[in-house]
Structure formats: structure tokens, C-alpha cells
Symmetry: C2
Subunit: 174 residues, 2 copies
């Protein structure tokens, strides 16, 4: 068993989610949240990301970090801002001894929804089912939990939970 | 008097330079260097940037950080990598209580060389003269010292040292 910290970095909102892996694949929800950064200066934004990760490490003692892998971005200015948030998050994770694992958006969606082009609401919906949450988590927290779950499935050798996720989805829809 | 840490972040090499401001504008060189990151994984790159800044803060106790301001970048993939290095550097600076000041490449060149389109070798040359260095500093360290000097001049209200830099250059060439 391991505790995984999923991070969905953004310069306006950074989502985080923690799951505890279970041998039966029914990974357990620990915590999730959104760090709202709109009002901060650049320095304070990145400092806040670092400090929240430090707090999460202190409180929940995660073993590994999972983060979305970005190859290209259509807008260089957005890529720079996203890179800065990612840089602060990855540096903090590595500094506290967490190994950093990256997954593409497609891998995350495939693992959690069973479909690489799933939309945000499908991710929120599946996260609620897979982690047995009473409420639908906010978009950025759901994305972070999805990245954490993707890593939880992948590290067990279950490269994609497509089948399991699909079955669960259909069971609920019936 | 204040100690300024200039940072020139990059995903392969991150340059740093420290100067101590002096009331007579003849700011004093403290230290400079290049952090070579080519061989590291992403997590270790960003962790190393953070750790070197932590070491510099511990050793030289700078008061303020100056870093190049980037608005746009022609290549989104490069912008993302640059953003990550910047994010780690800015987060570390803010975390250790340094205020972060940004200057465009044009402002830095204008302040140090007196010409906004100066090339790398002109910056190295002027940094050697202005800081009375025995040797020409490596490109990335010279850029970091130039950013630190740009902030040293600006914070005194001397928006551009164009005139002074030009005079010094001509004095040497004569």
C-alpha cells in the first residue's frame, strides 16, 4: 500500500488529491482540494503551491506524486504559466522525497473513464463512483484524484482500468 | 545596501549571480555560477534549482531576487520547460522571503550595455567591466549578474545605466 498525491497544476487554480492504494484495486480516498491562486502575485502563487504541498506531505505522508505530462501547448504564454505552476509543484514534491510520475491527459482519462477523449464532467462522475464519494468533487480536485488513481492502477501493472471503469459505469447507468 | 540574487533560469543550465549594492553605483560582485542540469530527471532538475537557491540564501543572505520576465516565447514546448525552471526558482526565492522582481531582456540589456538589442558577448564584456572581474564570466552566469545589476540600478531610481555603461565601454576601448 502507498499513498499517492495527484497534482493538477494551474496558475489560477491548482488541484490536489490523495488516494491510498489497496490490494483489491478499490483504492481509498484520503483528501482533495483546490488551491485558489487568482489574487496572488507570481511569487506568492508559487510559494503557496510549495507550502500547500509541504502541508500535505506533513499531514498525509504521501509516498509518490503523479502529475499530468504536457508535451505541447497551443499557446506559448499559457505554456509558460502552466510550466511555472508545474515547476513549483514538482520541485516541492522532489524536495520532500516523493518520486514524480507523469501521465498524459489521454492516459489519465483512459485509466479512469475508459475513454481517452472523456470530458471533465465524465472524470468527475467516475471519480465519485470509483472513490465512493458522497459528493461530486470540483473539476480541478477531480482531475488531481484522476491522475493519482491513474498512477495507482499503473503501478500495479494494470495499465488501464478501462474495462473496470466501463463496467462500473454501465452498472450504475442500468 | 542590499544583496541581490539574479537568476537566469533554464532547464539545461540555470545561471545565478549575486551583487551587493553600493551607494556610489559601483555595485560589488559577490558570487556567480552555473547549475548544470542536463543529466538530471525533471524532478531532480527542479529540486536542484531549489536546493542551490536555498544554499545561496544560507551563504550570502540576499534581500531580493531579480529574474528575467518572459511574456511570449516562439515555441510552446520550450516555454513550458523554461516555465518549470522559473517556477522552481521563483517559488524557492519567495519561500525564503526574497521579493521577486522581473525585468525584460531588453531592460536588462539597456541597463547593462546601454543598448536593448545587445548580444550575449556584449553582456559578458560589460559585466566584466562593471563588476571589475578578472575573468569573463560564463554566458548564463553573466546573464544572471546582468539581471541583478539591472535591478540594482532600477531600485535606486536609475532606470537605465545606458549612459554610464556607454562611457565605461568607450573609456576601455580608447
Amino acid at each position: 500500500m502507498a499513498i499517492i498525491l495527484g497534482i493538477d497544476p494551474g496558475s489560477r487554480i491548482t488541484g490536489y488529491g490523495l488516494v491510498k492504494t489497496q490490494p483489491n484495486h478499490h483504492h481509498q480516498f484520503i483528501a482533495c482540494g483546490c488551491i485558489r491562486l487568482e489574487k496572488y502575485s507570481l511569487g506568492d502563487k508559487l510559494k503557496t503551491i510549495h507550502e500547500v504541498i509541504a502541508d500535505l506531505v506533513h499531514t498525509y505522508q504521501p509516498d509518490e506524486t503523479a502529475i499530468e505530462q504536457i508535451f505541447f501547448h497551443e499557446n506559448p504564454s499559457t505554456a509558460l504559466k502552466l510550466g511555472q505552476a508545474r515547476g513549483a509543484a514538482i520541485a516541492a514534491s522532489a524536495l520532500y522525497g516523493l518520486t514524480v510520475h507523469e501521465y498524459t491527459a489521454r492516459q489519465v482519462k483512459k485509466a479512469v473513464v475508459g475513454y481517452g477523449a472523456a470530458d471533465k464532467s465524465q472524470i468527475q462522475h467516475m471519480i465519485q463512483i470509483l472513490l465512493k464519494l458522497e459528493m461530486i468533487p470540483p473539476v480541478d480536485a477531480a482531475d488531481a484524484l484522476a491522475i493519482a488513481l491513474c498512477h495507482a492502477y499503473t503501478r500495479e501493472g494494470l495499465k488501464s482500468l478501462g474495462g473496470v471503469a466501463q463496467k462500473m459505469r454501465y452498472r450504475r447507468l442500468r
